[in-house]
C-alpha cells in the first residue's frame, strides 16, 4: 500500500507492507538513527516525533501515520550542523553508548518545544519513556538544562533554532 508522509520536512510517497511498523519503514529508508531496543514499546530508543508528539515507532503501524509530519533524530541536525540539544548532550557527557540518545533527544525536543523552562520534575516525567542503561541519567538531566539555556540564548538572539532540512 501507499503511504504519504513528510519526513524531516520532505514530502514522501512510500510503498509499504500493510503490517509494517513506522520504525522499520524509517530504518529501511536509511534513517537508522531511530533504534530498536525492545520492539515492545518499553525502551523509547525508537522514539520519533509524529506531528510534534513523541511516539514509539516500534509499535506504531506506518499506515496509521498517513499524512503526518515525522521528525527523526536525523531531522534535527547533523555532525556539521547539530541541533543545540544534540550539542548539549555531548557537552554534558550524556552520551555513553549512544543507543538511547536519539530517543532521549527526541523526547527532550518535544518537551522544550512546549515548555522552554521545565522543572526537573517535568524533565523526569517527560523522559520517563526512555530507558538508559549506561549513564545513570544524571548527565542526561544536565544535558536538558544545558539545551534549555542554549535554546533560550538562541531565541533571545532572534536566531531560529529550526534547522534547515536538507534532502
Amino acid at each position: 500500500m501507499k503511504l504519504h508522509v513528510r519526513i524531516n520536512g520532505e514530502a514522501r510517497e512510500l510503498e509499504i507492507a500493510p503490517g509494517a511498523v513506522l520504525g522499520d519503514v524509517l530504518r529501511q529508508l536509511g534513517l537508522t538513527g531511530t533504534k530498536m531496543g525492545c520492539r515492545e514499546g518499553h525502551c523509547g530508543s525508537c522514539m520519533v516525533l509524529v506531528n510534534g508528539k513523541p511516539m514509539n515507532s516500534c509499535l506504531l503501524l506506518a499506515a496509521k501515520v498517513e499524512g503526518a509530519e515525522i521528525t527523526t533524530i536525523e531531522g534535527l541536525g547533523d555532525v556539521r550542523n547539530p541541533h543545540p540539544i544534540q550539542e548539549a548532550f555531548v557537552e554534558a557527557g550524556a552520551v555513553q553508548c549512544g543507543f538511547c540518545t536519539p530517543g532521549m533527544i527526541i523526547s527532550t525536543k518535544a518537551l522544550l518545544d512546549n515548555e522552554p523552562h521545565p522543572s526537573l520534575e517535568r524533565v523526569r516525567e517527560a523522559l520517563s519513556g526512555n530507558l538508559c542503561r549506561c549513564t545513570g541519567y544524571a548527565k542526561i538531566f544536565d544535558a536538558v538544562r544545558i539545551a534549555e539555556h542554549k535554546l533560550a540564548k538562541a531565541s533571545g538572539n532572534g536566531k531560529s533554532t529550526r534547522r534547515p532540512h536538507r534532502p
Partner: protein
Amino acid sequence: MTKTAGTKKTSARPEPNAARETRVVGKPVPKVDGLSLATGRAKFTADEIPPHCLVGMLLLSPHAHAKIKSIDTSEAEKLPGVRAILHHGNVPRIAHTTAGQGFPEPSPWDTFMFDNKVRYVGDRVAAVAAETRDIALQALKLIRVEYEPLPAVFDFEEALKPGAPIIHDEPDITSFLPFDPKRNLAAWAKADVGDIEKGLAEADVVVEGEFETHYYAHAPIEPHVTLTYLDPDGRLVIRTSTQVPFHCRRIVAQTLGIPVRQIRVIKPRLGGGFGGKQEILLEDVCAMLTLRTGRPVLMELNRAQEFTSSRTRHPMRMWAKMGVKKNGEVTAIDFRGILNTGAYGSHGLTVLTNVGSKCLGLLRCPNVRFDGKTVYTNLPVGGAYRGYGATQGMMALGQLIDEAARAIGMDPVEFCLRNHIRAGETHPIFRALGEGREGVDMTIASCGLAECIRLGAERFGWKQRRGKGASMPGPIKRGAGMVILMQGSSIPEIDMAAAIVKLNDDGSVNLYSGATDLGTGADTILAQIVAETLHIPVSDVILTVADTDNSPFDTGAYASSTTYLSGEAARRAAVDLLENMRQVAAEALDVSPEKLDVGEKCFYVHGNPRKTISYEALARRALYSRNQQQLVGHASAISHVSPPPFAAHFCEVEVDTETGVVRVVKYVAAVDCGVPINPKLAEGQTEGAVLNSIGAALMEEYLFNDDGRMLNPTFNYYKLFTPGETPLVETILVPTHEPTGPYGAKSVSEISTNGPLPAIANAIYDAVGVRLRKAPYTPERVLEALEAKRKAEHS
C-alpha cells in the same frame, strides 16, 4: 624504576610515568564519537545491512533439561524463502566455550554450536535463515522437535547432592582446570592464608551469616546482534556487537573449523555491553548460516531472548564469617560460597576466584580462607558482568563489615579507615587466587581509599545521617550505610594490548588499536593519551579501532583493562613515534636529537625556540624529500600487576515499614581511579554502574516457575529505573597517581557496581534493624524480615 609492562624496545628517552602537568589528559574532553551518536549518524551493527541480507533466527528450548530424540525440518524447508536450517545433526560438533577470554580460556569447553541435549529453557535447538523475519518465524514453528524431558535441578546445593541429575554427561567436554561435570561442578577454587582457626579463636567477636545474590540481567539497550557476509574474496566478515573482536575471531574459527585468516571481525558502535558481550553468542551460528547460503545474514536477539538466552549475573550463595577484636582489628575472614553458572560454565571459574581476590584483600587480615565451588544448574547461563565476582563477594563482606563494626560499637567509617589495605602493602590472597593460574603478588602502589572514605563521609553527611532516622515518627524510617570497595585494572600476566600510531602529511596521526569501545568512551581516552604524548590536539588523532584486519591485537574490553592497558599501549606507541620523529627533526634542524624540545605540534631547539620544525614540515620531509620513510610508532603492553581502583560508597534509604518499599534518597560514590584521563567520562562510568546495581538491589530479578522458565523476560515486568523514578548519584573523584598506568590512570568502569548491594542493605539495617541477606531487597522480603524481627522481639 617501577615494574611496568614489557615493550618491544626501550625508546631513546623513556618518558617516565611520573606525575606531570597535562594538557588534555585529565580534562573533560567531549567524546570523539559524541556528535555522530547524538545526531543518529553513527553506525551500530544493525544500521548497515547489505542488500539481499537474510534474517537468522534461533529456535530455543522450551525444556529445562531434555534429550532431543529427533528433529524434523522437512516442513520448514519446504516453506518458500527458507534458505538454511542448522541443528545438531548438520553442524560440526566442536566443544568450546562461549566465554571470550584469553587463550586457553579458563572456562570449560562444555558448549557445542548445537547439541543433542538442551540444558535450560532458552538453550539453542536450531537456527533458520530466511528471506524475511516473517518467513523465519514461520519456519521456526514448522520445525518438529521430539524431546525426551529429563529431571532438572535448579538449586545450587541440590545440584551438588549425590543422585542429582547430571547436566553435562557428554564425554567430549574438557577443561584444563578443576572440573568435575559428573558432580555438576564446573570449577572450584580454594585459598588458605595464615591460620583461620587461630584467627577465629583470637577474636573477641565473630559475626557470620548466609548471603545470597540473584539472577539479574545486563540489559544493554542494544541487544546482541551480529551481521555476517562474505567479502569479494570469499572471506567471512563478522560485524558484531562484541567486547572481544579478537577472541571472537579465534573462537568462531575454532567452532566452524576454519582458519583464523578466513575471518575478519569488525566492531562498529556498540549499544552497551557490561560484560554480556564478552561472549561468542550469535557469531558462530550467524557465520555458519552465511557459509551455508553464501548470503549476508543478520541475527538479533529479541528482548525476551536477551533475558533468557544471553548471559546473566552468576547468582551466589555465600557463608561468611569474620573475627574481630574489640579494638577493631580483624583477625580472620572465612568465606565459603557456591556460584551458580547455570547450564554452561562460561566465566565460572574466574568469576569465582574474583570473589576472593577482589574482596578478601581489601582488609588487612592475616588469616583468610576461601572455599568456592561453581555448579551447573538447569537455569540461564552466567557470564561476565561488570564487577565480576566482586559484586557478589562484597554483598556479603560489605554487610559483615557493618555487622562487625556494630558488634564492637565502632563506627564503620572508623573501622574501614583502620583496616583497609594501604599503598606499600600487599595481601597474600593476591598470589593465592589467580584467573586460571596462580595469582600475582602485588604491592599496592597507589591507594586513595582513606581520602575516599573521609571526603565521601563529609559530602554525604555521615555523622548527621547515620543512626538518626530509625526514630523518625510515622511508618517511614531513614537509615545510612556505607561500604568500601576495590577492583583491579587488567588481568596481570595474561592481558595484552598493542597499538600503532602513524604520522600523516599534515602532522595528524592515525591510531590503530584493538581496544573496544562499548560506549564507555575508550576511543576518547585513547585519543587523549595519544594527543597528550605527541602534543597535538585530540582532533588530530584519527582512530581505526576494533577491526581484526586493521587493528593490532588487543584482548578486549573486560577486566577493567582498556584505559590501563590499551591506554598504556597507545601511550608507548605514541612515544615510539615521537622518538622517530625526533630523529627526523634533528636531521632537518642539524642538531643532535637530545637538543630538541617538543612544543605544540613542533620540535624546537632547546633554549632557541625560534629554531623549530613543525610536525607538518617534518612529515612532508619524511614522506616526500629526504631520507624518505613512513614514520610510525608501535608498542605492546602487558601488565605485571592489576592495580586496584578503590572506592567508598555512602547511601541513605527510606524504608516504608508498612509497604516494605525501600527508596534510595542519597548516594555518594567517592572513587580513586588514579588520574582520571577524562573526569566527565569517569563520573559517567560511576553513575551508570551505581544505578545498575541500585536496580539490582531493589527490583531487578529473574522470576522462574517450577519448570525453570523465566516469567518476566520483558521490560514491562523486569523493571529498570526510568528517568522518572531514578535516584541520582553524586560522584567524587579522588585522584591518586598510579605509577604503572598511563599518565597515572587506573580503571573505573567496574568498581562502583559493587557498592549498592551492601551499602543499601547496611542502610536498611540502620533504618529498621533488619538484615537483608538475600537480594534483591524487595518489599516482600523487607516486610518478611520486619515481621520476623517483631516476632523475635515478642517471644
